[in-house]
């Protein structure tokens, strides 16, 4: 038996008509946000500039001219750049209802997976099990990623992120990935175990933290 009688249902339908009238008489939603890819491009330009300035302030590593064209450096830089770009693009896409693409998230995760596999293989092929302590690397990643991360979260908040935890994770990974990419230009220790423990692990941890941030920042959106 339907607990709501016909009259109750009709009353609700009248309320829907009222709601339509009120919404169409209120301020019209006449502005359109730029597309998610345009917003992402805007963010990336600002974020790259910010990261470059941050790296310059911290100081480029003294052996950069020797390391920058080595395969290990280039491969990791590419993985990080790809992961960061795809995370950002996915985060902006998921901020528009119906535009999030799970496939793109899969590519981003693959990029991160390739990075860790590369590091693990390098550890065993070089036989280098020294990592050193890298607290300054964690600091660099967080500091370099903080302003771009803040900007990204705010830009996404202005849209309509429905999957709040996923969007938070993607945003945090984008910012942390950029921070790790910048740190690669600062950190003198290129041992793969060091990079695994003090660059990769913090990025992943910050990514998970993004889920919490997403809940806090996007909850009432």
């Amino acid at each position: 038996m339907d607990t709501r009688r016909y009259e109750d249902i009709m009353e609700l339908a009248v309320k829907t008509d009222d709601l339509i009238k009120r919404l169409s008489e209120s301020s019209l939603p006449s502005k359109a946000l730029p597309s998610h890819s345009a917003r992402c491009l805007r963010w990336m330009s600002g974020a790259m500039l910010c990261t470059f300035v941050g790296v310059a302030l911290f100081g480029f590593r003294p052996d950069l001219h020797e390391q920058v064209f080595t395969p290990a450096f280039l491969i990791q830089a590419i993985f990080l750049a790809v992961a960061s770009i795809l995370s950002a693009l996915s985060a902006f896409a998921f901020s528009v209802p119906g535009e999030g693409k799970p496939g793109r998230v899969g590519w981003m995760l693959s990029s991160i997976l390739f990075w860790v596999l590369f590091l693990v293989v390098s550890i065993f092929t070089t036989g280098n099990f020294l990592s050193g302590v890298g607290l300054s690397c964690i600091r660099n990643i967080v500091v370099l990623g903080a302003i771009p991360g803040f900007a990204l979260f705010m830009m996404i908040r202005a849209a309509a992120p429905l999957k709040i935890e996923l969007t938070g994770v993607l945003g945090a990974l984008a910012a942390a990935g950029l921070g790790a990419l910048g740190t690669q230009f600062i950190c003198k220790n290129y041992n793969p175990l060091h990079i695994l423990l003090w660059h990769f692990v913090p990025v992943v941890f910050l990514g998970f933290l993004g889920a919490l941030l997403g809940r806090l920042i996007y909850r009432n959106r």
Binding site: L19, I20, P29, K31, G98
Partner: protein
Amino acid sequence: MDTAQDQKLRSWVRETRHGNAQSYEFLLSEIVGVLRTYFMRRVERKEWVEDLVQESLISVHRYLPTYDAARLLGPWLYAIAEHRLIDAMRKLRRIEKNETSAESLDWKAVINDSDRDETGLDLDEVLSLLSPKQRQVIALLKVKNMSVKEVAAATGFTISDVKVTAFRGYETLRRYYGVGRENR
């Protein structure tokens, strides 16, 4: 939503963005029809459909700036509807979880029949705090010790309605007597 309908809605979105309030009214009215059909197919409790439609409509109003008019409107609209539906299911699960804990309320903490000091009350006094429907449901559940299914059959209410009515009745009594948090 077919292509022709989608194109019509998109043209109204464009006109709304040029400041046409009437087009916006047409847009929302048409969207209501789409949403009603969507929720009628997916929601067991038909009395929830209109609430879901209204919540989705408010979301459409808030999120319309994010819609890219170069793309189809359907995926954008259905993503919002799906989100509202998932929210509603979560809320229902929360209510049902609370009802389960409410059923373990120590009835004796609320009625003290044997020791009639100044805080002791009898059953009639307790039940008089409730609405007639809540009184009927709770009396059958707790005094006659009927199951939820049996109460639904006896009263003609649905099982969900019996649970929600009982939950609200317990909450009233809990607030009045300040008991029950420790009994959850």
